[in-house]
């Protein structure tokens, strides 16, 4: 079953009758946020920040208490009311399998995922930093989407329900059936892509430091690459007390931070920048593949666009692969 959706804000309005709706919002800086009525998702280009915050809140107080001796400690699971995420692209949907794998044992995460329907966007165009097909993601794929939007020739979108969850979501949809509307062609871009074959194997041999000095030279430890990334999932457990109330939160953290591995004793196994730069790259392209058999990367390129010093993971992997071969 598929429909023609002329205006994405009408889709948001309809989906809001089914649950909370999240999608790319904002103009200059596009981030995933809850969308209100009449607020169209910004599907004009890939968001600057991934939808990670929809699936792993930046700060989640899972334990609350009051600062008194006989306080009751209360536990809070994720918000698992029904919701829809609109505008996830194939790279982001592929990346979500990393969270699905890492947090598979978490009942809270599974409940959140079960309560979430994904209305994806089949990618209309390759953007300057995209390298999804280098990491085995087809930008035209609808894998993992419950329903998929495809840009239609002549404007608007063709919306197809793909799973039972997607069909239930779209029941009662006030949109005309798509009929013979056709999808617009994928717009290619001309830029270098990575030959990802053999990258995990090549990187597995790259434990020595010299090459990482070179790779990490431009890094200014800002951590933005890890905060815009859809596969990054590291966090810290921390206690905070505000007045008489306190809580324990899981908060996003970054392996690119010097304090990430620092111990109370002062010992720091990754005290140097090259060691941290190595950790990020090898976790995504060597360690995770070794354990899970898949790259920890959807090829969205946000880390490239977000880097203030112009580091480029595609160029770095190409260099590393060559470095390992020699």
């Amino acid at each position: 079953m598929s429909w023609i959706v002329k205006d994405a804000s009408e889709l948001v309005e309809f989906l809001r009758t089914k649950g909370g709706v999240y999608g790319p919002a904002g103009d200059d800086r596009i981030v995933f946020d809850e969308l209100g009525n009449g607020a169209p998702p910004n599907l004009s280009r890939l968001s600057d920040v991934s939808a990670r915050n929809v699936f792993q809140p930046m700060t989640h107080y899972y334990l609350r208490f009051e600062d008194r001796p006989d306080t009751e400690v209360s536990f809070r699971d994720y918000d698992t009311t029904p919701r829809v995420v609109v505008g996830l692209r194939p790279c982001d949907v592929a990346a979500l399998t990393v969270h699905d794998t890492v947090f598979a044992e978490s009942g809270s995460y599974r409940a959140l995922r079960d309560a979430t329907a994904i209305v994806g966007l089949v990618c209309p165009a390759r953007e300057e930093a995209c390298f999804c097909d280098s990491v085995g993601v087809d930008p035209r794929s609808t894998d993992g989407m419950d329903a998929a939007l495809t840009v239609a020739v002549g404007g608007g979108y063709v919306l197809a329900a793909l799973t039972d969850k997607g069909r239930t979501l779209m029941s009662g949809a006030p949109f005309p059936e798509s009929g013979d509307a056709t999808a617009a062609d994928f717009r290619e871009a001309d830029h270098p892509v990575l030959a990802a074959e053999g990258v995990p194997e090549a990187l597995g041999r790259l434990r020595e430091m010299e090459i990482w000095d070179e790779i990490g030279f431009a890094c200014v430890n800002c951590r933005v690459c890890t905060y815009v990334c859809p596969t990054c999932h590291c966090f810290t457990v921390t206690d905070e007390v505000f007045g008489t109330e306190g809580g324990r939160a899981a908060v996003w953290d970054s392996c690119q931070s010097k304090s990430f591995t620092k111990e109370a004793s002062g010992h720091n196994p990754r005290a140097t920048k090259p060691a941290r730069v190595r950790q990020r790259i090898l976790h995504k392209y060597a360690y995770y593949p070794e354990v899970e058999g898949a790259l920890m990367c959807g090829g969205c390129g946000r880390c490239i666009k977000g880097c203030p010093t112009g580091r480029n993971i595609v160029e770095e992997l190409t260099l590393l692969k060559g470095g390992a071969a020699t």
Partner: protein, 281 residues
């Protein structure tokens, strides 16, 4: 469903001073926290935070748990100010314990440095419970000064146990100290470098003996080198790896070392497992 992040309320039942900055706490959790020697728990000081510790008590005792803790950070400093009767939280255990079945019939070298003897104590007590199963237990312990020695009252008792020896050293000469002086690796001096001599005459058979090592990273590094130089099998050298585990479940990323999560794949790692890392300690 069991909530893996839920700390179990535990009352401090006893506090014993070991050294000026190390205390042994006995906790009574509201429900028993069972663990194997080598596993660790996350200890909560309410409102301050959590930190990972390996229990120091006998794993066969489940009603109470003892942990020997040095004041070194925010959680341990706050803990040091707590009193008997106060409540902390304990969650876990996490990680893998020692495979004691595999230790049976072998010589076991236990090397501790400083407060590093604390996690080994739970192993030592577990071994003592089945002492006839092991060929020999050699406890070798180094502390900075005589005042920094933990378990001063227990070490002489351990020495009395069957097939057990206790060797000690301190880092620098001290008027109160009559024994060996030098960093802890001097306690490996009786192990010959070459293994051409008759195995029967050696203190340990390097091919089969087990080493369990815990201490500051620099000590692990040199004990590791020392034992490998003396022909020990890297599969039989078990290091207690020090990392700042946060979640305990192999998710949060803090303790990652290569493809390993120390909290899940460790915290005890063999010399063979860490061999591929440039500087694992």
């Amino acid at each position: 469903m069991k909530n893996l992040y839920r700390p179990i309320e535990s009352v401090i039942e006893d506090i014993k001073d070991e050294t000026p900055n190390i205390k042994t706490y006995r906790f009574r959790p509201k429900e028993p926290v069972t663990f194997e020697a080598g596993q660790f728990v996350e200890l909560t000081v309410p409102g301050v935070g959590e930190a990972p510790f390996t229990p120091s008590s006998n794993p066969n005792v489940t009603e109470t748990m003892e942990i020997t803790i040095m004041e070194v950070g925010s959680v341990t400093d706050a803990l040091a100010k707590m009193k008997v009767g106060d409540t902390v939280g304990i969650r876990g255990p996490y990680g893998k314990g020692y495979d004691l079945k595999d230790f049976e019939g072998r010589e076991i070298l236990i090397m501790g440095g400083g407060v590093g003897l604390a996690p080994l104590r739970s192993l030592i007590l577990a071994l003592f419970d089945d002492i006839d199963k092991y060929k020999k237990i050699s406890i070798r312990y180094g502390a900075r000064t005589p005042a920094d020695i933990v378990y001063k009252d227990l070490l002489p008792k351990w020495e009395q146990m069957k097939n057990t020896e206790v060797l000690q050293t301190i880092d620098e000469p001290h008027p109160d100290w009559k024994g060996t002086v030098g960093v802890v690796t001097v306690l490996l001096d009786d192990l010959p470098l070459v293994t051409t001599v008759d195995v029967e005459s050696l203190p340990f058979d390097p091919k089969t003996a087990i080493a369990c090592v815990c201490g500051p990273p620099i000590m692990l590094k040199f004990v590791n080198m020392g034992l490998l130089d003396k022909g020990w099998n890297p599969e039989n050298i078990f290091h207690s790896m020090e990392r700042n585990m946060s979640c305990g479940l192999g998710k949060c990323g803090h303790c990652m070392m290569g493809e390993y999560y120390i909290c899940k794949d460790g915290p005890v790692m063999t010399a063979a497992q860490v061999a591929k890392f440039e500087d694992p300690f």
